[in-house]
Amino acid sequence: MFLIPNAVVRFFHRMASPPHFYAFTDKVMPWLIIIFVLLTGFGLYGGLYLAPADYQQGDSYRIIYIHVPSAWMSLFIYMVMAISGAIGLVWRIKLAEIVAISSAPIGASFTFIALFTGSLWGKPMWGTWWVWDARLTSELILLFLYLGVIGLYGAIDDKRVASKAVAILALVGVVNIPIIHYSVEWWNTLHQGPTVTKMDKPSIHISMLIPLLLMALSFKFYYLIALIQRIRIELLQRERNAQWVKTKVLEQN
């Protein structure tokens, strides 16, 4: 701990306190929205308009600008959920529990988007909406894991107990993450191999790569915005008897 400056430690301490966190989100929200809108605007302009059509797939490949970032987010959010769930499990930090459960619906949404847009891309390119190949199947299992987390949390009334159960389920499901990532290498799949996250050089042209990275970053900011919205309502509901929430309610009148 002595390696971390005092101000940083103090910042995290304050952020772990619900009323401070709530006030902090009010302050950062407009900035997050501005950055998100700029990234999305440039990303979509670059991807849908500036980037040339693919020499094999024509314009259908433009689905990549939402398909790939969504698939990345589906894995990224799962890891955030599992790690914050574990932190909540070990140190009983309320805010970590809330980050974990608030991430689940957003992660499920991105998983659904990855599957849905993949299906719409597969139809014209592969000739089928769906195949049971390793990549598609493991991503579908990820969707079920997210839905399982949401269902389990809803089924247990005591939210502290529910958070424990959800964290354990999320941690067990982490096995699926490397399986999704390496599925295109371990098995012979209809799904294409990686073009961006290859160790040597991405085999995608720079004019297509830049909008893709902009969209990936834009989805990260979207996640932050959506996460904060979910955290806020979860905090209010869990802390409805706390003084800071009662004061907030009075202010609303």
């Binding site: 024509g58 314009d59 939402i66 139809k123």
Partner: protein, 53 residues
Amino acid sequence: MSLEQFLSMGGYGFYVWTSYGVTFLVLLANIIIPIMQRKQFFVKASKKQRQSL
């Protein structure tokens, strides 16, 4: 490029725009739902507060 050409996406318009449309709707819902829940929470909580006064 004309607008019509842009919208047709080289014949793949249906696939491309359905993808973008559904993505937009799902992402929008994820913002609107918690905001509505929060509004509801404040309506309910302030009613309760008034009753207990």
